[in-house]
Amino acid sequence: MWRRFGEAAYAAVMVVVFTIQAGALVLVAAVVLVASRGQASNTLRFVLASAVSLTALVVMLLTAYTLGYQWLSSRREHRRTAEMNRWTERWADVVVGGSPPPKPQKVRGAALEALVAVKEQLREPERSRAQDLLQHFGVTAHLLGVAGSRRHSTRRRYDALDLLFRAGSPVGFATYADLSHDPERLIRELTARAWARSLASVRDPVVLDSQARRFTREMSDSDLPQGAIHEALLETAEAAPLVLALLLEDATGDVLAAALDVAGRLQCVKMVDLVPAHLESDDVDVVCSGWRALTGMGASPQAAVVLLPGALESEEEEIRSQAVRFAALLPPSEALELLTPRLGDKSWWVRRSAAWALLNSGAKGRRLLDDASGHHPDPFARRIALQVLLESGEISAGEAMNRAVVS
């Protein structure tokens, strides 16, 4: 982790130092080249002596600067920690203890960070009280103003967006919409996260519906990496069903794959019927995310089940692997029939998934895996069955060794 101050000053010092040094070196090189033609040896001596003196001077300057920075930054951190502790106690007294809030004043710096930190730690109804304080002191408006203004330094804007994300206030959507087109990638990423968390705190269904539509539209048009979209979608929490349903209907490519993955991870069973349509997509990532989503939801809609045999025979290793995991959700009689041949799949990952799926398919599946570990005609299937039994703790290491030797 890095200190988040002093870097601009250091960069400025370094640019000055190296500009001077580069000038001196270029001069030395130029004079050397002249001297190589038998001229200006006195000039060379003078330039070299000057370069040495200058370098010694900047070394001393830099060392003094570093020591000074170290001393000042230690003091500053000490002071900041003390201020944070004082304000945290004070806000906790107001929100939890019922003390009166401080007289109207600007809440900035440590006071602002402490209030956001306090809100983050609380649950309702104290959380709402902290939100009222943020509103009362104009904190959210101030942060939105900083984040949205290009007059402020990029670092201040990052910090403001980070605090907005942590505060999770149900306001600022217009600013977020503007910022989602910012030329800075990180501003767009932080905006997506702050926006998602703000959506999660909206309680009015009408506002939520209109803002969710706006959010999904912007996400679909954004050029954020899939991982960043995935993270933002996870932040939508209570608003996720609405947001994800909109994305599953309209989005494509990376955004759709991220939405499917998040739907599975958040176990949004309500949108199970929206998933099978994507299992026949041309985009391998989308198909894999679709199977993963259904497995995550623990649901096996008929529209997906009919596509399963095809997915298990897919040429794409990842699709087979995900389909095998999904197969474990089927009734044991169907699951075992589909999974057993996959124990001998050419891909290690599919074999492994099949073995785990069998293990999770009830007593019969476990017995089948047990049997496969000793008697399956394919040695790869025997070994993966044994390994999964061992990893799951079903058999001991000694027993696994015995079976391996016997088979």
């Binding site: 982790m1 890095w2 200190r3 640019v15 090189a29 001596r45 830099l62 570093t66 994300f165």
Partner: protein, 472 residues
């Protein structure tokens, strides 16, 4: 042209070479500084811990090659098992140790032999057995015949089952959030194939329960000088090369890779000491040959603490190996030199390595030889030679101070003013003999290329426990 004129021209050549290398270093320094400052501005603790809490992380397989590590292996593995990361496995490879490395691990972690189906992605020396801890289900040990470090990593890689693999030296300790920070890059950007973390010297650090609590300047000058070297390398040069998309090395002490990319290039090559550099070269070549978008990045924040050699003898041996490795890799991938197909890597980074890394040993050595010859034959301009030497020394110190200045912005920095002063003096001390000894070693390495190709595991370490300084 008489021999005197030839020597004069050589003298001028050295001066211009020095000016060029210094200008290049200054440019790298500034670029690295910019890269780090941007990174520092972007990173916050919220983003990392939030990332873990939202479970959008990628599970990691940590590969730990070990040879004769009986002294430090237990502490090292324990610190890995304590990592604050939701899903990972540790695969240690005992590469034909001749000491008690395997026995120490078996006793400490209750390892038992198990059958395990390993995918043979890369052929390795014979694996004798695979063991698993009964106390820590995510700890595996591969006991195999000796095959070198790269072979040991490959053996562990064959067992890895997570989408991201992290290779780490057996005498290293990872910072608490290092894995989360590094793997976040893989989760966010599908084109990232490798991430190099920052390595810092563990020597002198104060430990608490296997974690670095605070850092202090090490005891010996050999170690202190390495503190400066590592700072220069990781806070300036590598950050700069990463910024321009031409990073050619990810330290073997801590490198994180996308497993699928490593599978495609066929694992680590066993024919060189510099397997860590070679695998990065191969990733560049493969991705560019295939015209795939990719990123290989160095980050200044995921930090790995590693024990650096504490004696000059061990340091010489290490540097001999590094220089041989550099030459082996450059020769193996010589087709990349000035090859526009490989973009900035081929047109800038590889030429830089040829001329300013591999070539520097010749030029610097030649410089000292020239001074000796000139002194013997009485035409040495003492005033000129001294001024030039002073300039070179001061410039080297300036680069060290730049890197140490960046280091002060880290939260885990050398806090005591006395340590800072000691390290400042170390920047001078570097030029008072040790640098010359290491230069000699690099020259020797050139002549040992054929004889010792790919040899590894020759370093002698004091072991983490012994070398770490006071443990609390």
């Amino acid at each position: 042209m008489g021999w005197r004129s030839a020597l004069d021209y050589f003298e001028y050549f050295i001066l211009v070479y020095f000016a060029l290398i210094a200008l290049f270093s200054a440019a790298l320094g500034l670029l690295g500084l910019r890269s780090i400052l941007l990174y520092a501005r972007e990173s916050s603790s919220t983003s990392v811990y939030g990332f873990l809490a939202r479970a959008s992380y990628k599970p990691v397989s940590i590969l730990v090659p070990a040879h004769n590590e009986e002294k430090g292996i237990e502490a090292s593995v324990r610190s890995l098992l304590d990592l604050a990361y939701p899903q990972f496995e540790v695969i240690v490879t005992a590469d034909g140790p001749t000491d008690r490395t395997v026995e120490v691990l078996i006793e400490a972690f209750h390892l038992v032999e198990v059958p395990r189906e390993a995918r043979v992605v890369v052929e390795t020396a014979e694996v004798k057995r695979i063991l698993r801890s009964t106390r820590h289900p995510n700890l595996w040990l591969v006991d195999k015949e000796n095959g070198g470090k790269a072979d040991a990593i490959n053996a562990a890689f064959n067992l890895a089952r997570h989408p991201v693999v992290c290779s780490i030296d057996a005498d290293s300790i990872l910072d608490g959030a290092a894995l989360a920070r590094a793997t976040r890059l893989f989760a966010e950007d599908e084109t990232v194939v490798a991430v190099g973390g920052t390595i810092r010297a563990l020597n002198g650090a104060v430990l608490e329960a296997g974690k670095v609590r605070s850092i202090r300047a090490p005891k010996t000058w050999v170690e202190r000088i390495q503190v400066l070297e590592y700072a220069r390398a990781f806070f300036t040069a590598r950050a700069a090369w990463s910024r321009v998309g031409a990073l050619t090395i990810i330290s073997g002490a801590f490198g994180i890779f996308r497993r699928s990319a490593i599978e495609e290039v066929g694992g680590w090559w066993t024919g060189t000491v510099a397997d860590d550099m070679e695998v990065v070269f191969r990733l560049h070549r493969f991705m560019r040959d295939e015209r795939r978008p990719y990123r290989i990045v160095a980050t200044p924040d995921p930090i790995c603490w590693t024990e650096v050699p504490s004696s000059l003898r061990a340091l010489r041996r290490q540097r001999n190996g590094w220089h041989r490795g550099l030459l082996e890799v450059l020769w193996r991938h010589r087709c990349m030199l000035f090859n526009p197909r490989y973009g900035r890597v081929g047109m800038v980074a590889v030429p830089y390595l040829w001329f300013f890394e591999a070539g520097a040993a010749f030029v610097e050595g030649g410089g000292y030889l020239y001074v000796a010859v000139a002194a013997i034959f009485g035409f040495l301009n003492v005033e000129f030679a001294l001024m030039f030497f002073a300039l070179a020394v001061l410039y080297g110190i300036l680069l060290s101070q730049l890197a140490m200045g960046i280091e002060t912005m880290l939260l885990s920095r050398y806090e005591r003013a006395s340590d800072r002063l000691v390290l400042f003096v170390a920047a001078f001390a570097e030029f008072a003999g040790i640098r010359q000894v290491l230069l000699w070693e690099r020259c020797v390495a050139i002549f040992q290329l054929r004889k010792r190709q790919g040899k590894f595991w020759t370093e002698t370490r004091t072991g983490i426990e012994a070398g770490r300084g006071p443990e609390i």
